[in-house]
């Protein structure tokens, strides 16, 4: 945001996302800021990214959106692996495109699981350190492997690793030069819940150290574990943006549809209609279709009501959980 000759940088550490956390004089951009100004990218007639302007400062930021929304394109633009068709992308004030020097401050973990399987993690991370021409590549490789807790398996070939371990080896290689900016494309893909928690903790820790960490995900529920800023991108446009609490609130408060089967559907429908958290009820052959306008209140009230009226609930199915619906709700809000 630019205002009265100054550049404001919104960061995830602010209590209120609308309030700027940092004030930086014009002309002195923070070294770890990623800035997109009026950026579009198209392939022939297809617009992948449409006039996106955003600033991502230190801390953890999630770039969320359904598949095909343009997340990877945005990350590749930031990582200098793609030229913007229009607009400007800078990292730490330097242009991202055709500027290999930028990689001194930036690390990238791509979505594609591209690892040379014939190397061990140690050789892979050490090679990265050497390619960065670090003064002590061995020490840097040891440090990076310890951050991702891969020391025990570091001498095994990467081809023998699980998906999570491969991902960690790639994160270690991207971290080896201690970059101020780290971009990760779908880092949670294919990870089991324990690995996801571990990865999220790792990202949070690095963000707390003052780095700019940006990860993309098509799983909106990722926001549940995220304590940072969220940028929602839909159909190539920046659709929603703000503090994780705000987005989380929007997600839990959004209208939900449930199909409920019970021992007495008609009675259940009558009882539910009297609830403030319910905005519509209809009797369907499969059960009661309920339109709830407050997820939290409704789910808490349902069990209590059923007990009071001696109705046995046999099935509760959320019927509008497709990601596209959630995203389009966020966009409309």
């Amino acid at each position: 945001m630019t205002h009265a000759g100054h550049t404001y940088v919104t960061g995830p550490n602010s209590e209120d996302p609308a309030q700027p956390t940092g004030l930086i004089s014009e002309g002195r951009t923070a070294v770890s800021n990623i800035e997109l100004s009026g950026v579009s990218r198209w392939y022939g007639n297809v617009v992948a990214v449409n006039d996106v302007t955003l600033t991502i400062g230190p801390g953890l930021t999630g770039l969320l959106g359904p598949n095909g929304a343009g997340k990877t394109t945005v990350l590749h633009l930031m990582a200098g692996l793609m030229a913007p068709s229009q607009g400007e992308v800078t990292v730490g004030g330097e242009p991202a495109w055709r500027n290999p020097n930028m990689y001194r401050t930036l690390g990238l973990v791509t979505e594609r699981e591209s690892v040379p399987g014939f190397l061990t993690a140690w050789e892979f991370v050490l090679a990265s350190a050497k390619l960065h021409k670090l003064p002590d590549p061995e020490a840097a490789a040891r440090r990076a492997l310890s951050i991702v807790e891969l020391e025990d398996a570091q001498n095994r070939r990467i081809s023998t690793y699980s998906k999570g371990m491969r991902q960690r080896s790639r994160v270690a290689a991207a971290l080896v030069h201690d970059p101020r900016v780290l971009l990760l494309d779908e880092p949670f893909n294919g990870m089991d819940p324990r690995q996801r928690i571990h990865m999220m903790a790792l990202l949070n820790r690095m963000a707390e150290e003052g780095r700019t960490i940006l990860f993309s995900s098509h799983i909106l529920e990722e926001v549940e574990q995220l304590s940072g800023t969220v940028q929602v991108i839909v159909a190539g446009r920046l659709a929603a943006s703000g503090d994780y609490r705000h987005i989380r609130r929007l997600m839990t408060n959004r209208p939900h549809q449930f199909t409920i089967s019970s021992s007495d559907d008609r009675l259940l429908a009558t009882v539910l209609m009297g609830q403030r958290s319910v905005s519509g009820v209809s009797l369907e052959p499969t059960g009661v279709l309920v339109q709830a306008n407050d997820y939290g209140t409704f789910t808490r009230a349902l069990a209590k009501l059923a007990r009071e009226h001696k109705i046995r609930l046999t099935q509760i199915l959320p019927s509008d959980e497709s990601l596209e619906k959630v995203f389009s709700y966020l966009v409309a809000t």
């Binding site: 343009g70 030229a83 990238l108 791509t110």
Partner: protein
């Protein structure tokens, strides 16, 4: 040049099954030379067929095509190129390192069996000529195929089109086309040093040297320029 890139490129190249395709060609070359020598026929009858038509016209370009397109093309195919591209390295350093590895592998894989075959045929000077011809021709071919792999998604197909259509068919019907034929340059250089009826060439050695330098420079600079503006594609969403 960058030793880390060179060692990674070499390991990736030699670790693939594709490299096994290089093995039968030297065996055939040496076997045919033995047949030629033992047949008692005139050197000029079988020598050019084996050393020019097979050695420098088939084995050298095919080896360079396999090796040169692997040096960069395989990493672009499997996406591991991003590990190299996201480093603060001049793109010329990446290309030069890969070119040198491809060149050394091509020269060893073709120069050694050619030299052995020439020694079996009884010409030490031809052995030297073939090694130098294979080295210069190999460098020109590798630069060309490296550039093709930075520019095209199908470097092997495009390379084969050049080898078959240009170097084989067009050169036969349009004599001027041989100026742009790397195998003609390699043959001319080997012939000028070997100075034996076992090999004959149709291009002057000075033309061969000048054109080789042009091929090497254009290939290396072209590949570097292309890598500078290299955009990841195929996985954008």
């Amino acid at each position: 040049m960058n030793l880390t890139i060179m060692s990674l490129t070499l390991r990736a190249m030699l670790g693939r099954r594709r490299v096994l395709m290089l093995l039968p060609m030297p065996v055939i070359l040496i076997g045919l030379t033995l047949v030629g020598v033992m047949s008692g026929a005139d050197d000029a009858e079988w020598g050019p067929v084996i050393f020019s038509n097979l050695g420098l016209s088939v084995i050298l370009p095919l080896t360079a095509l396999i090796v040169g397109s692997s040096a960069l093309g395989l990493e672009i195919d499997d996406g591991t190129i991003t590990h190299v591209l996201t480093k603060p390295l001049p793109r010329s350093e990446i290309i030069l390192s890969k070119l040198v590895v491809a060149w050394l592998v091509t020269t060893v894989a073709t120069g050694v069996p050619l030299a052995v075959a020439a020694l079996i045929a009884g010409s030490g000077s031809l052995a030297v000529g073939l090694v130098i011809g294979a080295a210069i021709g190999g460098l020109a071919y590798c630069a060309l195929f490296l550039a093709l792999s930075a520019m095209s998604k199908r470097p092997v197909a495009v390379g084969l089109v050049y080898l078959v259509l240009w170097e084989n068919i067009l050169v036969t019907y349009v004599s001027g086309a041989r100026i742009f034929s790397v195998r003609q340059h390699a043959t001319a250089i080997a012939d000028s040093i070997g100075n034996t009826p076992l090999i004959n060439s149709t291009v002057s050695v000075s033309t061969a040297l000048i054109m080789s330098v042009i091929f090497i420079l254009v290939g290396a600079v072209g590949a570097t320029q292309r890598l500078r503006s290299f955009a990841l594609t195929g996985e954008a969403n």
